[in-house]
C-alpha cells in the first residue's frame, strides 16, 4: 500500500465517508449450525465470524473454578484474510487481542451462574480491513446472546482515531496505517461504561475526550444493528426447526 498524499479531502475520507460516519454494517445472528451461538459481521471490507460454545464442561479440569464459569476467547485470522498470507497459528498479536476481547466481554456475562463450566468464544477474521478486534467483539456479543448465555447487556465496539488532524470514526486499513492515532473502544451500551480501551499514537487531552465521545456515539449505532440482528433471528421461525 502506498501512502496517499491526503487521507481527508474537502471533509470527505478516501472512501467518501464523513469523519463521523461508520462503514456499511451488516450483522447476522446464527450464522453457523454446530456452534451454540454465532454471528457474522461485515463492516466495510471486514468479514468476521464469531461462535460460542457453552456453558459446557471445562477441560482441562484444573482450569475449572469452583464459583464461576471460565470465559475463554480465541481470536484468529484466516491465512488469506490479509494482503500477505498469515502463517496459521497464534502469534503475539492474536494472543493479546484474544485477552482484551475476553476482558471486554466478561463484564456482561453472568459467569457466576455456571460454576466449574467453560464458555468459549471464537472469533475468526475471514477478511481484514482494520478494526477486526472491535468487529470481533461486536460479533461475539451477538453470538453470546444467540447462544442464550445470560447477559447483563450487550457489548458494542468500534475504533476511532486521528487522521490528517481530524478525529474520525471507524478507520480503514489505509487510515490506520497512515493516520496518527488508533483507539479501539468497547462499551456496554445501556450502562455507557467502557470495557475495552486501547490507544496507539498521539492525542492531546481535548482530542482524546472528543475521540472517546465519538467512539461512544459509534457504539450506539453498532448497538442498534446488534439488536436488529437478534430480532431478525428470533422473529422468523427458522426453517430448519
Amino acid at each position: 500500500m502506498e501512502k496517499p498524499e491526503k487521507l481527508i479531502v474537502d471533509g470527505k475520507r478516501l472512501d467518501g465517508r464523513g469523519p463521523e460516519e461508520l462503514r456499511p454494517l451488516k450483522i447476522q445472528a446464527g450464522a453457523l449450525k454446530r456452534a451454540d451461538g454465532s454471528a457474522y459481521v461485515e463492516l466495510g471490507a471486514n468479514k468476521v465470524l464469531a461462535a460460542v460454545y457453552g456453558p459446557r464442561e471445562l477441560h482441562p479440569r484444573h482450569m475449572q473454578q469452583p464459583d464461576t464459569a471460565v470465559l475463554r476467547c480465541r481470536y484468529n485470522m484466516a491465512p488469506f484474510s490479509v494482503e500477505e498470507r498469515k502463517r496459521p497459528g497464534p502469534d503475539r498479536r492474536s494472543v493479546e487481542i484474544s485477552k482484551v476481547i475476553r476482558e471486554a466481554l466478561e463484564p456482561v456475562v453472568f459467569t457466576k451462574l455456571y460454576p466449574r463450566s467453560g464458555i468459549d468464544v471464537f472469533v475468526e477474521v475471514l477478511q481484514a480491513d482494520a478494526g477486526t478486534r472491535t468487529a470481533g467483539i461486536t460479533a461475539a456479543a451477538v453470538a453470546l446472546a444467540d447462544a442464550g448465555v445470560p447477559m447483563r447487556d450487550l457489548v458494542s465496539a468500534v475504533a476511532v482515531g486521528k487522521v490528517d488532524d481530524t478525529i474520525v470514526l471507524d478507520l480503514t486499513k489505509e487510515e490506520d496505517q497512515f493516520g496518527t492515532t488508533d483507539m479501539p473502544v468497547a462499551m456496554l451500551p445501556r450502562k455507557r461504561v467502557i470495557t475495552l480501551l486501547q490507544m496507539d499514537g498521539s492525542f492531546i487531552e481535548e482530542e482524546f475526550e472528543r475521540a472517546l465521545a465519538l467512539a461512544m456515539k459509534g457504539c450506539e449505532q453498532i448497538y442498534e444493528a446488534q439488536k436488529q440482528a437478534l430480532k431478525a433471528r428470533y422473529s422468523i421461525k427458522p426453517e430448519e426447526g
Partner: protein
C-alpha cells in the same frame, strides 16, 4: 473427527442403513444440498465457500514469490493447509494441526497435485531463484460431516476462481489451472455403501473410501479411512458411485 455418539443413535443409523434409508430421508447415493460461491474474499487471489448441507468450508488461494525447491528450480510450489477451526465443532481443538486436519490437507493436495491440475511448470519466475507458490488454505467453518468432499470442491473452485490474479509481478495471462478433479467419499455402514456422510453417519461408519476422479472417469487419488475393512466388490462399487457423483458435483464448478 470421530465424535462420541450414544449407542442408541448408533443402532438407529445402522438399522436405517440396513433398510437402505438415512435419517435425513436421503437416498444412499444422494448428496445433501450443495452450493459453491466464489470470489467472496478480496484479500485472496481466489476463494470459494462450499456448503454441503450444514458443512461449510472456505478455501482461499494466495500467490506468493518464494524460492523454488532445489530439484525443480523452475516450477511453482503447491502448499495445501487445512484448519479445523474450533468454531466449527465442539470436538475441534485449538492448537497445531492434528492427524485429521493433516490427512484432510494431504488428501486434497494429492487430488490436485497428482492430477496435474495446476501447470506448475508455468509458475517459474527466475530459474533457481524465484517461483510462484500457490497456497491453498482450507478453513473449516461448520462441521456436519464429509469434510473431504467439501474441502476438495472448495479448493478446486478457488483455484478456478483465480483467473488473472491481482498480484504484483504477475505476467501470465491466466492462472494455469487445467483440470477439475472431484473427490467423492463413500462410506460403509454395515453392508451398505452411501455417499456424502453426515456427521452422525461418519460417527458410526465402518470404513470410508475417497476417490478423486477426472472428467474422463479416471482415478487420480484414493484414500481409505476408518477402522474396518472393504471387500474388492465394495471398492469397485464405490468407484462407480464416485464417478457418477463427481459428474454431478462438477456442475457446480461451471
Amino acid at each position: 473427527m470421530y465424535e462420541i455418539i450414544s449407542s442408541v443413535k448408533r443402532d438407529y443409523i445402522a438399522d436405517l442403513a440396513r433398510q437402505e434409508k438415512r435419517a435425513d430421508a436421503r437416498a444412499l447415493d444422494q448428496y445433501r444440498e450443495v452450493s459453491v460461491e466464489t470470489g467472496l474474499i478480496k484479500s485472496a487471489q481466489g476463494s470459494a465457500l462450499v456448503k454441503i448441507g450444514n458443512t461449510q468450508v472456505l478455501a482461499g488461494v494466495k500467490l506468493e514469490r518464494v524460492e523454488p525447491f532445489p530439484d525443480t528450480p523452475n516450477s511453482g510450489v503447491l502448499m495445501v493447509n487445512a484448519e479445523l477451526r474450533p468454531l466449527a465443532s465442539p470436538t475441534f481443538e485449538a492448537g497445531p494441526p492434528d492427524e485429521n486436519s493433516i490427512e484432510l490437507a494431504r488428501v486434497v493436495d494429492r487430488g490436485i497435485r497428482e492430477s496435474e491440475s495446476i501447470d506448475l511448470d508455468k509458475l517459474g519466475i527466475t530459474p533457481g531463484k524465484e517461483v510462484w507458490a500457490v497456497y491453498i488454505d482450507l478453513h473449516v467453518l461448520d462441521y456436519d460431516g464429509n469434510l473431504i468432499d467439501a474441502a476438495s470442491l472448495a479448493a478446486i473452485a478457488a483455484l478456478w476462481n483465480v483467473k488473472k490474479p491481482q498480484v504484483e509481478g504477475w505476467t501470465l495471462d491466466e492462472f494455469p489451472v487445467l483440470k477439475k478433479p472431484v473427490a467423492v467419499t463413500v462410506v460403509k455402514i454395515g453392508e451398505k455403501l452411501m455417499v456424502d456422510p453426515s456427521l452422525d453417519e461418519e460417527n458410526v461408519m465402518d470404513a470410508r473410501l475417497t476417490i478423486s476422479t477426472l472428467e474422463d472417469g479416471s482415478i487420480c487419488a484414493m484414500q481409505k479411512g476408518g477402522v474396518w475393512c472393504l471387500t474388492v466388490e465394495e471398492i469397485k462399487a464405490a468407484y462407480g458411485l464416485a464417478r457418477a457423483k463427481a459428474a454431478e458435483l462438477r456442475e457446480h464448478l461451471k
